[in-house]
Symmetry: none
Amino acid sequence: MNKLRAIQLFVRLAELGSFTRVAEQLNTSKSVISKEVSRLEEDLGVRLLHRTTRNVQLTHAGEGYLQRAREILAQLEAADSFVQDLQQAPRGRLKINAPMALGITELSRMFADFMRAYPDIELDIHLGDEDVDLVEQGFDLGFRASSQPLDLAYVGRPLTRFGYHVCAAPQYLQQHEPIVSVDDLRSHNCFEYSYFKGKNVWPLDDGVRIGGTLRVNSVIFMLTAIKSGLGLGLVPEFLCREALASGELVEVLPDARKPELTLYALYPARHFVPARVLQCIDFLEAWFLRQR
Amino acid sequence: MNKLRAIQLFVRLAELGSFTRVAEQLNTSKSVISKEVSRLEEDLGVRLLHRTTRNVQLTHAGEGYLQRAREILAQLEAADSFVQDLQQAPRGRLKINAPMALGITELSRMFADFMRAYPDIELDIHLGDEDVDLVEQGFDLGFRASSQPLDLAYVGRPLTRFGYHVCAAPQYLQQHEPIVSVDDLRSHNCFEYSYFKGKNVWPLDDGVRIGGTLRVNSVIFMLTAIKSGLGLGLVPEFLCREALASGELVEVLPDARKPELTLYALYPARHFVPARVLQCIDFLEAWFLRQR
DNA sequence: CCTGTTGTTTTCAAATTGGAAACAGTTTTA
DNA sequence: TAAAACTGTTTCCAATTTGAAAACAACAGG
């Protein structure tokens, strides 16, 4: 038995309350979880959990062990960070979460530079636009674009600000009615981004309810559709900058009032923040300053 | 790599200053020690020891890690013995309060099993349906059936849920008017349980005021009267289950809405709850889970 | 330049592990 | 009431990892 892993599994299990979910979250089979936790119980000679087919609940012994196990794992992590931070060049693994669109544009260039600067740091980058809990999923760092301040459980550092543009292909604009006011959008094919907070109301001036033939959870996908001349989209600046410069896309309603978002780097407010995380954030801040 | 064992080996190694001696002391080969410690260093990305052919000495990082590692191992050991002490064949007396009806049915079987499992625990069981103050009377544990959450001065663990049935003897039903609706009960001989919260209003559908020739503070007594064909009673499921199965009693108005009660195990929210109490509750929970 | 001792590496049989599938329960659904 | 859908556990076997011995490399001391 790998006792340390068994303990980690037990803690996870206590949090999620289900063998199946732990297995899913760790991309392994539930038999592994079951066997390892059973072995831990056997090793201790104590039942830590009551199992039923519907849920798992801690025994009294399990509750006591959980509390101590958490502490021990935290201390071990701190010990590891301690020795790693003594090294001159930071090393270790950084698990990072970022929005898809941002990840494959700005951040891909940024992290290429980062890897050059810190060749001993392993990056584990998860791109996705679903809401994730950084702590629960073990992320060291996350990127969020927001117009409001952020969750207090995290430390957030503003990196840069960016806006949106309403974009269309020149071809589309030729073939359709001209757009001179925000209200004209109502009669156009405006694409909707599924995760967009305003849903089908674009925050132009006082807001305009739009409609169209495409609703998709990827701005990249949407951008391709726009470039093909199929419709209009509200696209983050960093995504359309190139296409606007080259003339492949044209900005519509450049003078309409549009919101500005701030891009934050977030990290869990732990007791011991590993040096590599802080170092990475310093790098981020410097990098984005240089870009402007 | 078994990290925990690697850490243990590292600590031993730092103490003995020699791979060979660690191997000897643990009755294993030195290759194991060498490989495992190397793997730990690799995992951390940090050299913990300077090796020469003559002796082993800690690096700066190694010293820091050693100190933390010792602490972690000590805490782990403490956690292990903590749960094991909880488990240790507990002894002593458990003073327990339970409702009469429950005590002479379910609980009598449950505690028979418990006594087999923990032969060193003395049980002092007080059955009774009066309201008692557990703390004042020195009870370690009490059982309460309730539809609402419980007094905050106690810690309560839900054990099982059960319902009620309106029961009568077949003989009684033959000799009296048929009962097809809740309201029909008004004209029947419905027995009243003195401690019942609703007094003479049975909580069927929207409630029905009943009356009859027996009012008694023992459901067992009442059950005997019902079996004799003298009248109807509102009886907890666990009490009439057998009689219903054997046909000795028949359920009346099975489709009427009836309340469901949760059976709780209660113990005073003291600072130090004796291990035997916690142990007993774990046993209870497991037992009732198994029953279902 | 041996000799004895150190830690590391190699080797390969033996033990352990991990995932799929079968299984035994239970709850939910139709 | 039967079927479907989950639960956690167990079984099975290929794949990996482990461990002890032996070979090896490095070095101190005679």
